[in-house]
Symmetry: C2
Subunit: 215 residues, 2 copies
Amino acid sequence: MVKDQATEDLIKEKAKSLFFQKGFLDATTQEIADEAKVNRALIHYYFRSREQLMDVILEEVVSRKRERVLAIFTSDLTFREKIAVYIDAIVDQGLRFPYLENFIISETARSPKRVDMLCSPGKTKTADLIREDLAAEIKKGKLRPISAEHFMVNLSSMCNYPLLAKSILKSIHGMTDQTYRKFLQDRKQIIYRAIFQEEMPEVELTPELKSILTW
Amino acid sequence: MVKDQATEDLIKEKAKSLFFQKGFLDATTQEIADEAKVNRALIHYYFRSREQLMDVILEEVVSRKRERVLAIFTSDLTFREKIAVYIDAIVDQGLRFPYLENFIISETARSPKRVDMLCSPGKTKTADLIREDLAAEIKKGKLRPISAEHFMVNLSSMCNYPLLAKSILKSIHGMTDQTYRKFLQDRKQIIYRAIFQEEMPEVELTPELKSILTW
DNA sequence: GGCGTGTTTAACAATTTTGTTAAACAAAAA
DNA sequence: TTTTTGTTTAACAAAATTGTTAAACACGCC
């Protein structure tokens, strides 16, 4: 008999749901087991320890995200279309998994080991993916000079921070979940304008790109 | 005999140091006691429970931050000078207390109770502080139209996110602590330019403002 | 059916962590 | 000096949490 992949996946899925959707970033093995309706010892049977379960999940979710970003930036869209799609993808993901980014930030802040796992030297850097496109834009005078690193940090900051600070934002501005979603949707335009000082284009996705971005 | 304020403060200071500077966001009461070189029970004597110690610290640090922001935005600097000073203050604070923002984000994500404590209805919203200035700038055609809320979110995102994602950024770009500090210093200019498309002005602080911002 | 392999469970052990309490202690007040 | 009040400590209790293990179980295969 082979390891029951279904059960293993179930545990992983339920753990993710607790971490990313319900926001129980410090969920115990018991809570995870309850959620998956299995015995707690099963978690140790499949993943050895809580720590390793975290490793697997973090690794999986980050590499998926990397794939998606890679797909966007290696597509044959124009530079500005790529950025528009990137913003759209990141914000949508944040709406669907409200605590994913919090999880990544907390875990990487907690243990440096985790960071190394995610950012090993071989991995492609987003900044490298846009460097040429960016330089071309700047040369054409369509963008103020800026390094690829700072450009990416500006971009991902404006996409991710409002997701991280969700509860604070909601409270300060007295938003409901409804209005918060609306606010984030609006931000897509806002972010694009902050970067390019012009309106965000409508982008027609290729079926291939669409399939990678959908989940 | 009065409660020994010195001891109480010592515990608070050492806890903050663990949380904000050393990054032990989940430090136990024992670790805090060790750091302050006092018996663990003292923490309960002064703060009743770990939870309440957190409350006190979070409340204190956020209200201090609020004071500083308020001082900046109610000063008689020009709008653009205010923004320049704000960027400078937030980034410098992030360099001095690398985990403060992580602490705020984790704690507010963990328990909604904490959020309410920080953002009670009476509190001044930053967005309200800049609304008029912002409208004036826009009317003069010196800035593209944008709501005060989105403007502030853009601004604080670009200031805070690189602090939250410190370990990730360092790892991806192979930065040392040295180069990371440099990167953040450079960002001050970058952020200002991203917002106003022009160089950041040198600002002469009034002694009063300076004293509030220094700590 | 019986055997063997892999899965699942219940029970247990060990550790960590928080919170309480009673007693020791220090210093000011009577 | 004795009392009183507040501070500090050591020891204890309780709860939560992780990890282990041995036994029960399910299922394919001989």
